[in-house]
Symmetry: C2
DNA sequence: GTTGACCTTCCCATGATGGGAAGCCGCAAG
DNA sequence: CTTGCGGCTTCCCATCATGGGAAGGTCAAC
């Protein structure tokens, strides 16, 4: 029937790129599309609708494997909304964990940046913060052990044999 | 001197896995480590220190390419803290953009989940929300199905059946 | 029929990390 | 000294979602 469209139209209508539609088919996220004699894929309204479903789920950050489950629930008349809700809540938790993690990193970095003059001098608490931590044993406390890639390292360190353990 | 260590010790001391240390070397993020006659990599305190720098930068979410720049600034006595700060601020912006994006997705999903009963029945606003959007009408739009009237599927939101035809 | 836009499949790349295989090396116990 | 085990080497593959591009077939307008 005329309602069958090319992958290009399906892509435009669903918001999923043709590349991704083929990919989703290849991993079995969506069923194999019908083909014309020429090999061209044919998409009916339901197919496009399903692709839109996938796209909106992706927009909400669901990974494809979870979308696979969602599609199963979508098509299951006997599903319970509890299943869907549990899946959603679990995903919300993951999203917020990630958001929190990113925000924490930003906060730490902002703390360092706040105390950075940002002028022409090299002294920088940001660099110092990154440099912090376990200072190598027997190494200079190095308020700024900078020149290291440019200048050769004076301290001896290349004995083939000594391997302590 | 005993300060030269194996990749294993360097990994443990720096918090960067041996796998990653080799990878960083292969992409030139850190200079090629000295080798013993056996081919074993040798890491001095400075090398371990640099790896720690990389790890802390990673912990703050810097991508490797940016860490490459940071390492350059670190080792540049003539750097200006303004450069470092600009890099950091730019990165903070990206982190917060991502965090905001994730949080937005979580919020939208939470909104849907709040109105979901989560009981044994199939009716679910979450599924409905994912399904929302232009429902493909079975109308004569052979050529270009672009302008589709919104929502044309009132009957039974149960069992849209992902399987088609 | 020609042409240009579209479709097909297949391979490669991203970014950061890990897993694992095949084979060499180092050290300690026998 | 030999054996054995664990650590080291390189190389390839996998992840996750997406895109780029090549080589070649198809469709529709002119």
């Amino acid at each position: 029937m005329g309602i069958a469209v090319n992958i290009g139209q399906a892509a435009e209508a669903s918001g999923v790129s043709a590349k991704m539609i083929r990919h989703y088919e290849s991993i079995g996220l969506v069923p194999r599309a019908d083909r014309r004699d020429s090999g061209y894929r044919d998409y009916g309204p339901q197919d496009v609708h399903r692709l839109g479903f996938v796209r909106r789920a992706r927009d909400l950050g669901f990974p494809l494997e979870r979308i696979r489950v969602l599609l199963g629930l979508w098509g299951d008349p006997g599903r319970s909304s509890a299943e869907v809700k549990a899946l959603a809540l679990s995903h919300i938790g993951e999203l917020e964990d990630k958001a929190r993690h990113l925000q924490e990193m930003a906060d730490v970095l902002r703390g360092l940046a706040l105390s950075c003059d940002g002028d022409g001098r090299p002294d920088c608490p940001i660099i110092a913060g990154l440099e912090a931590g376990p200072v190598p044993p027997s190494g200079p406390c190095t308020g700024r052990p900078t020149s290291r890639s440019s200048s050769a390292k004076p301290p001896s360190r290349r004995s083939p044999s000594p391997d302590r353990r």
